[in-house]
């Protein structure tokens, strides 16, 4: 991914240097003039300080603790860049094989999260910039067909139903082991994915990999909810980490091995950007039930305000339309809430655009499936979005130094 600031430096000079030199930005004549006059040793690929960037590399060195009662990458504020990889266990795999794989991956995670190379790291130099790296591992339904594990499968851990309108592509669907890799540095995501894939190769085949992105770190003020490729402020309605409410929504309390873990749902949603943009602004806002400027509900208030589903206009009509996304996604019972942690994907052109919708919930059957069913049946947004991929996993609880992810299940 390229950010506008990087384009600025791709001329061979940082914006800052140009500004200090008094040269205009954007004119090629000015750039040539600056180049001739400055004659400093700054190549196109030398990362120079950008306006608004501390320039210290502090973000690159920043780490997220991989240890604790819960895996990292769930309550962690969404990093800028992500890859989700799905692996299928090789036919004939045993529980012992899975133990070996989980020990290898846990060791990789400990080291890479600290900015240290993995053992046998193919490119140790690329491990030095963790940039808040997290790696989150989940078990798909297939894991529970391994010897003796069937009784431990959470009841909800079955392939998601095919919802009305779904055009599920097997190339983006399912998997026995789901690995979510997130970092504020896309190069680090790539390196981590390579290490994970290397270690998974002896035990699995890669089923699919999907990459995602948000705004660059520091591009938005802290606490800002990002936009998706439709321009909608996306992911406003979320529980707040560190609250009892969050714990109740996200962390599973059964079966015993999954206490402190969670359920993970991945949905690949393709966006029809061109036809969406042809709609008038009022239409686009009504389809969602929120305004485009800051995401506030059409029923009033701030982006964080509750959507008032009962609000009516002066003619007595619902302000939030019966088919509005915000209405249909709103919980119909107190349990029907989830943690949304989506990423954008695609080039943005030629039909290649959308969202990797990632959600965490203690019990996805109880908390997610009903929402998705309502959206599938009535959401007017479905004219512009198509669900093409689907996966579900049980994410084991976190681990401690000397331990490993999945221990509570596989040593059970």
């Amino acid at each position: 991914m390229t950010e506008p600031g990087d384009n600025g430096s791709a001329s061979g000079f940082s914006r800052r240097r140009l500004l200090l030199g008094g040269a205009a930005i954007g004119g090629s004549a000015a750039l040539v003039g600056a180049a001739a006059g400055a004659a400093v040793a700054t190549s196109v690929n030398q990362r120079d300080q950008q306006p608004g960037d501390s320039g210290t590399g502090a973000l690159g060195e920043s780490t997220v603790d991989p240890y604790g009662p819960h895996q990292a990458g769930i309550a962690t504020p969404a990093q800028a860049s992500a890859a989700i990889a799905s692996f299928s266990l090789r036919p004939g795999s045993s529980r012992t094989d899975l133990v070996k794989l989980m020990k290898l991956l846990s060791d990789d995670i400990e080291r890479l999260a600290a900015g240290e190379p993995a053992l046998a790291d193919p490119v140790p130099e690329l491990a030095a910039v963790p940039a808040n790296l997290t790696v989150t591992v989940g078990f798909g339904p297939g894991v529970f067909s391994l010897d003796g594990l069937a009784p431990y499968r959470p009841e909800w851990l079955v392939d998601l139903p095919v919802f009305a309108g779904d055009e599920i592509d097997p190339a983006f669907t399912g998997g026995d082991i789901l690995v979510q890799i997130c970092s504020d540095d896309p190069l680090t995501v790539g390196h981590t994915l390579r290490v994970v894939s290397n270690d998974a190769a002896a035990f699995t085949t890669t089923r699919w990999i999907q990459q995602g992105f948000h705004n660059a770190p520091g591009a938005l003020p802290s606490g800002t909810v990002g936009r998706n490729l439709f321009g909608q402020v996306d992911g406003i309605v979320n529980p707040t980490p560190g609250t009892a409410d969050f714990d109740e929504v996200v962390w599973s309390d059964a079966p015993a091995w999954l206490v402190g873990g969670t359920g993970m749902v991945v949905r690949r949603v393709e966006f029809e950007l061109e036809t969406w943009t042809q709609l008038d602004r009022a239409g686009r806002e009504e389809i969602i039930g929120r305004n485009l400027s800051d995401g506030a509900p059409l029923s009033g208030g701030t982006p964080e305000s509750q959507v008032d589903l009962d609000a009516v206009d002066e003619r007595g009509l619902s302000v939030i339309a019966p088919t509005a996304h915000a209405r249909l996604a709103a919980p119909t019972n107190p349990r029907e809430r989830i943690l949304r942690r989506p990423y954008n994907f695609g080039t943005g052109v030629a039909g290649d655009a959308g969202q990797i919708f990632v959600a965490f919930a203690a019990d996805p059957a109880e908390q997610f499936v009903g929402i998705q069913r309502r959206l599938a049946e009535s959401d007017l947004l479905n004219t512009w979005v198509t669900y093409t991929g689907s996966a579900i996993a049980a994410v084991p609880p976190g681990f401690s130094p000397g331990g490993w992810i999945g221990e509570t299940l596989l040593e059970a």
Binding site: L101, D107, L119, A120, N198, D199, A201
Partner: protein, 147 residues
């Protein structure tokens, strides 16, 4: 003496290398002079010099209070005449012997490690080492004994 961050390159048969960081927490210099492992018929201590892998004269010298890194392309413990396949995730036990007469046990995790092994077997790797960076150059091939 300890070998931390210990790992072994997974191999189906033949020979393979063991790596990690030798740490001498004592106040006397220690030389690792040999080793043994249930996973291998023969254990040798190797170095890579001028692109050629060979048994090291004397052994691995670890200074008092210091470390010595064993890594692909450099010093390594060579497990030869493997008694069976070493698969990724396996734990391989090796006993390393010290010049002081003592020994210590190392448990190393087997890892998939891909590299330009074929080129090494083809011989004449000095030039490639220079080009690609010696530290990244694998020094051996588990499946094809390099002779």
């Amino acid at each position: 003496m300890t070998l931390t961050d210990a790992w072994v390159k997974a191999a189906d048969s033949g020979m393979t290398g063991e790596f990690g960081v030798l740490t001498n927490s004592g106040d006397e210099e220690v030389t690792i002079v040999g080793g043994s492992s249930p996973a291998a018929g023969v254990v040798e201590l190797h170095e890579v010099a001028d692109g050629q892998m060979k048994a090291i004269d004397g052994g691995f010298v670890v200074p008092a209070g210091g470390t010595l890194t064993l890594e692909p392309g450099g010093y390594h413990v060579m497990l030869m005449q493997l008694t069976g396949p070493i698969a990724p995730g396996d734990e391989v036990t090796t006993t390393l012997e010290c010049s002081t007469g003592g020994s210590f046990e190392v448990v190393a995790t087997a890892k998939e490690f891909a590299g330009g092994n074929e080129e090494y077997v083809g011989g004449g790797m000095g030039g490639m080492d220079d080009m690609n960076g010696a530290s990244q150059m694998p020094s051996m091939d588990g499946s094809q004994p390099a002779g």
